[in-house]
């Protein structure tokens, strides 16, 4: 934060786009600013509304050279923009150097990335020395599709404003219509559900929204991280994940795509379409996946059915899909997440967890989904 830790004393802030750059259509500028505000809105209780005239908390403008604040811009390159910490008058304002070539993509200087950084200043964040952070002072063309705040940015802004109010919407919806669900999930929320669960080199990862809990055998208290801390290019709000031990690989699914990660490295050649695994074109996403390490089979759960994939043959087995209810009696037909451990299959459906013995073909225990998280 800045010296004296200036911050806004209210949670609803106004902004105004005072003028536009000739480099971009107006709606592209509007959209970049809105997206940049949303980056911070998602991890704080802050909300923003736009003003079209008068004095807003955050006045956003494009200017060249000397522009009235004794911090002249310097032509193309070097200083791209600056912004003032929270306060009245010019404080909170954002100025972009219009001698830059502002673009929607990474071909020039990407307006969204710079705006998100500058708005961080407007909200009270100073520069970070963490090179992964949005608030690191040097401009870098980030993977714009998978842009995420770093944990450092989130910790910084939440030290000023706290986390957003918890969300109660845990409904799984297709990728195309995933709404931004603000809120940091609470591990002991009795209604907690998981997006996906997978083992990884002896640990268990519980994915939820943009986060994961990491449960290791040597530390009963789970660690909590942003998914982007380990895999910056992966999406959040995952659908499914499973580990293939002999490949030392975790496969991660979202929508009709999947990624392969080995440790913290996303493997080349991904994402791939889920249809390369043998799913029919009508399947647009999967709900959960489970790897049976002993039999080298992977189960994919989609609505009330499941498919089985032979890891040896690398093909989907004949005779599938089958009904979940027929082969996993007692398990809720809609599965959010699943994994294998200690010879059991664990299925997660909403806030409930079903321990299933595949040999006895019966549910042996029902508990809360978050029972793995020391709750």
């Amino acid at each position: 934060t800045f010296p004296g830790t200036p911050k806004w004393r209210k949670t609803h802030l106004t902004y105004r786009i005072v003028n536009y750059t000739p480099d971009l259509p107006r709606d592209a500028v509007d959209s970049a600013i809105e997206r940049a505000l949303k980056v911070w809105e998602e991890v704080t209780p802050l909300t923003f509304s736009r003003m079209y005239e008068g004095e807003a908390d955050i006045m956003i403008s494009f200017a060249v050279g000397e522009h009235g604040d004794f911090y002249s811009f310097d032509g193309p390159g070097e200083s791209l923009a600056h912004a003032y910490p929270p306060g009245p008058g010019f404080y909170g304002d954002v100025h972009f150097d219009d001698d830059e070539n502002w673009t929607e993509d990474a071909s020039g200087t990407n307006l969204f990335i710079v705006a998100a950084h500058e708005l961080g200043h407007s909200l009270g964040l100073s520069h970070s020395d963490n090179t992964e952070a949005l608030m690191y002072p040097l401009y870098k063309s980030t993977d714009l599709v998978h842009f995420r705040l770093s944990q450092d940015d989130v910790d910084g802004i939440q030290s000023l404003y706290g986390p957003p109010p918890a969300s109660s919407d845990d409904t799984q919806v297709p990728m195309e219509s995933v709404p931004p669900r603000p809120g940091t999930p609470a591990k002991c929320d009795p209604a907690l559900s998981f997006d996906a669960v997978s083992t990884l080199r002896g640990e268990v990862l519980f994915f939820k929204d943009r986060y994961l809990w990491r449960r290791t055998q040597w530390n009963l208290e789970p660690e909590f991280h942003l998914i982007s801390t380990f895999w910056p290019s992966l999406p959040s709000y995952l659908d499914a994940a499973y580990e293939v031990n002999r490949k030392d690989t975790v496969f991660i699914f979202k929508g009709n795509q999947f990624w392969a990660v080995r440790g913290s490295e996303v493997q080349a050649g991904y994402p791939r379409s889920i249809h390369t695994l043998g799913f029919p074109p009508t399947i647009r996403k999967i709900d959960a996946a489970l790897s049976d390490k002993d039999k080298k089979k992977t189960y994919f759960f989609v609505e009330d059915k499941y498919w089985r994939f032979d890891e040896n043959c690398q093909s989907m087995e004949q005779g599938f899909p089958r009904l979940i209810a027929d082969d996993f009696p007692g398990v809720e037909p809609k599965v959010d997440a699943a994994f294998q451990a200690f010879g059991f299959f664990y299925f997660f459906s909403g806030s409930s967890q079903f321990e299933f013995d595949p040999n006895a073909r019966m549910v042996t225990q029902i508990s809360k989904s978050n029972s793995w998280l020391q709750c």
Binding site: F73, S79, H82, T131, P137
Partner: protein, 84 residues
């Protein structure tokens, strides 16, 4: 000619570094003193501070990595201190 060009390049680098330290690391604005004092403790300290903050190897010298980083586009807000 070669010697003169090398000297000129060094001047440009020094000028760039001076402006960078003035703008972002609160180095007092005094051109002549900076050039004269480029090896003096306070300037070296500022260079080290900058290198540490930006994740560079802390040498206290304007090496090629440091010069490369300070010529990259960046946010105009100072890294240390605040707007005066």
């Amino acid at each position: 000619y070669t010697l003169k060009r090398a000297a000129k390049e060094e001047d440009i680098s020094m000028d760039l570094a001076r402006k960078y330290l003035e703008n972002y690391y609160n180095l007092p604005k005094d051109v002549k003193k900076f050039v004269k004092r480029k090896d003096s403790g306070s300037v070296v300290k500022k260079i080290q501070e900058m290198q540490k903050f930006l994740g560079l190897e802390v040498t206290g010298k304007l090496d090629s990595d440091t010069l490369d980083v300070i010529s990259k586009p960046r946010c105009g807000v100072p890294d240390v201190g605040h707007f005066s």
